[in-house]
Amino acid sequence: MSNDNLIETDVLVIGAGPAGLAFSIHYANLIGKHNIPLKVMILEKAATAGNHTLSGAVMNLKTLGELLPEVDLKGIPSITEVKQEDILFLTKSNAFGLPYHPKVMSNKGNHILSLGAMVGWLGGLAEQKGVEIFAGVAGYELIFENGKLVGVFTGASGLDHEGKPMSNYQPPTEVRAKIVVLAEGARGHLTKQLIDKFNLTQDKNPQVYSLGVKEVWEVPEGSFAQGRIMHTLGFPLGADQFGGGFVYGLNKTQVVIGFCSGLDYSNPAFDPHRALQQYKQHPQIAEIIKNGKLIKYGAKNIPEGGLFSWPQLYHDNFMIIGDSAGFVAMPSLKGIHLSIKAAMTAAQAAFEAIKAQDTSKERLSLYEKLFKDTPEYSEMYAARNFRQCFTSNLYLGFLKYGINLITGGRGLSLNGKSRLEADYKHCRPALKGRQLSPMVFDNKTTFDKEADVFYSGTKHDEAQPCHILISSAQVCRDCIEKFEAPCQHFCPARVFELSPEAQGNPAKIILHPSNCIHCKTCDIKDPFQNVTWMPPYGADGPKYENM
């Protein structure tokens, strides 16, 4: 690698989500008070910060206020205060209000916003503080020296389908940094490799996920009040599955409808996109959108395991923040404000390390120490065994959760730490009786995956190697045999198509990588862990903007 393609910096942040931006802003603030040059840069794979961001989102603004004491948070685009809140249990055609609202689930004082829009706004503030954001650039490959992480390569471009350079080939850029901050969101592609290499999840629970599939609808005024939020349990899921729906009134004419499905489901034919389509047919939801128009579609994973699923948060020369580590508290389904707080403590640790010219894991352990002293840690600690209650049956789950609340989050396990199993281990061999009956989409309120994908705005350069890697074709065939190819169902963008057995040729999977919306479900849920998601060319992928 010639020096022509080398960049050096103090701190390299991978991902301009709320975590990466909060880290950089706080780091810049700390440096600003001292006589050290500010050298922090962010790589973001989306064409602009916010384009790959997808959340609910009902947000607790407290930690953002701590990050930006001088800024009026009313300036966040399209923000509105929560005015009304319901939790409903849905049967196929009815809805019942839940008799008891746990206090931790209350959203009084919180705000509804589009996280994508907020990230765009936050990115502007970061740049004003001297943070360099390079959008349209993915961190592609880790660089190690003497067994330690020293930087990241961006991806090459101008490659053909086989990966051979074409006439427009551009080599990777090598970015060397004293500290790399992994803020890639759920199931980070580089984070995953670091966790494996340094064995960072030893003695921890595996991370578990829910896939949130979401649509934004334009509706006539009066269909759903601005500032109203509705969470639902039940339909279309049975009691054996974890998940639920949400409906948020973003403004007078825009409503957000989403459905989250725990990826620990066992029926390989289950389809999270379809769950959202069925959800919209429930009278309670159908009424809201009957005269509406779909304007946006997307899907993304939520790391739900809680603090027992955190990997070790730091090691020599790097730290893991945000959803890449799993700063999400269930049951309130909140990650943004926790990620911001953790990012601030990580920034403090990075600042001390750069100042002392010592970026060893001992020095960076300050990050976890500081976070453990915050109220946000207590919030996560209280919920530490929540997701574990709901691994078998919804009703049993509530019972366990009741015990959890009484025992201060401890639950009934002996060491106070309930176990979890990785999502991919939950698939059971296809049972004919559990095949889902085909669903008819009316293209007015329900859409098939191809139609929905159009509304994600996703696009990929067609001339590039496929970014969905299948390690073994034989394993793929075994999976079709045993599970009837769950990938064709779990992928919310129809990237995987099962081509049936024909003329003596066995059934096989055909890939449509251009459809991909970067949710990473394939990487998580594939029962044989035979699929690896790689970043495609920079700026490729969904164009969410307001999700």
């Binding site: 101008g158 427009n168 551009q170 850029t173």
Partner: protein, 258 residues
């Protein structure tokens, strides 16, 4: 080999929204991009530079926001970027635009080749490239799909025609407009994006390029826009179905040929 590439900033087609009532282009919040043909012009300039040495200068006339198009050009590998921007240019048609660009090019002075796109996405006239060559009084080859050779101060290029291509030779300095067959444009590298952030963009006003006042803007324009209309929606195509569809189709086509 010193090369100038003329680029135009146009509305992002993926982003275009039409006001359903007024039937007009909604301009607020619309993102911009480099005119697609100009991406090929930039790429060809960069490839020649990589082969023959020299530098590539990106040039545009437009409002101050056009700076972002120039920064993108730098991120791809252009060495310098010049924006000509002045209230006095407002209302320029293709004659005035090409005059203004030619004044800027005269000021740059030291150049061997000028590249333009074949035509723009929005204006669509394909006037500006030939216009510049006219004002500068230098040879031009339009719709170039391949540069065959550059030697001894001459360029040989393939000009795409409806039926194939012509092989033309011209003396340098020369202006070429390019079509999409000429190459596959590169994507910017991180190093390039970094350079784009720090490169200073030169801004010239009308006076800086000694553009005559009555040859630019509305005053210098030979065209006058009388009326702007949207073209009527195309009627839906006829679908022939069922038995006898082919016969019916043939009959209809015969009827149309009369």
């Amino acid at each position: 080999m010193n090369i100038i590439v003329c680029i135009k900033q146009v509305p992002d087609t993926a982003d275009i929204k039409i006001d359903p009532v007024a039937k007009r282009l909604l301009r607020e919040g619309i993102k911009s991009m480099i005119n697609p043909f100009d991406m090929y012009a930039i790429e060809e300039g960069l490839r020649l530079k990589e082969k023959l040495g020299g530098k590539v200068t990106a040039l545009t006339m437009g409002p101050p926001q056009a700076e972002s198009a120039l920064r993108e050009a730098v991120s791809l590998g252009c060495d310098e970027a010049i924006l000509i921007s002045d209230g006095a240019f407002t209302g320029s048609d293709t004659l005035a635009t090409s005059y203004a660009l030619s004044c800027a090019i005269k000021k740059i002075k030291d150049y061997d080749m000028i590249f333009c796109g074949k035509q723009s996405l929005d204006g669509d006239t394909a006037h500006v490239g030939p216009g510049i060559a006219g004002h500068l009084n230098i040879p031009q080859i339009v719709n170039v799909r391949k540069i065959q050779d550059i030697k001894e101060g001459r360029v040989t290029a393939h000009r795409m025609t409806e039926y194939g291509y012509d092989v033309l030779e011209a003396e340098l300095p020369c202006l070429l407009t390019v079509v999409k067959d000429i190459n596959v444009p590169r994507l910017p590298s991180l190093k390039g994006k970094m350079k784009a952030k720090s490169t200073a963009i030169t801004v010239w006003k009308a006076a800086d390029i000694q553009a005559e006042e009555n040859r630019i803007g509305a005053k210098g324009s030979a065209t006058e826009v009388w009326k702007v209309t949207t073209s009527p929606a195309r009627p839906q195509g006829k679908i022939f179905e069922g038995e006898g569809a082919v016969d019916q189709l043939v009959l209809t086509l015969k009827g149309l040929m009369k």
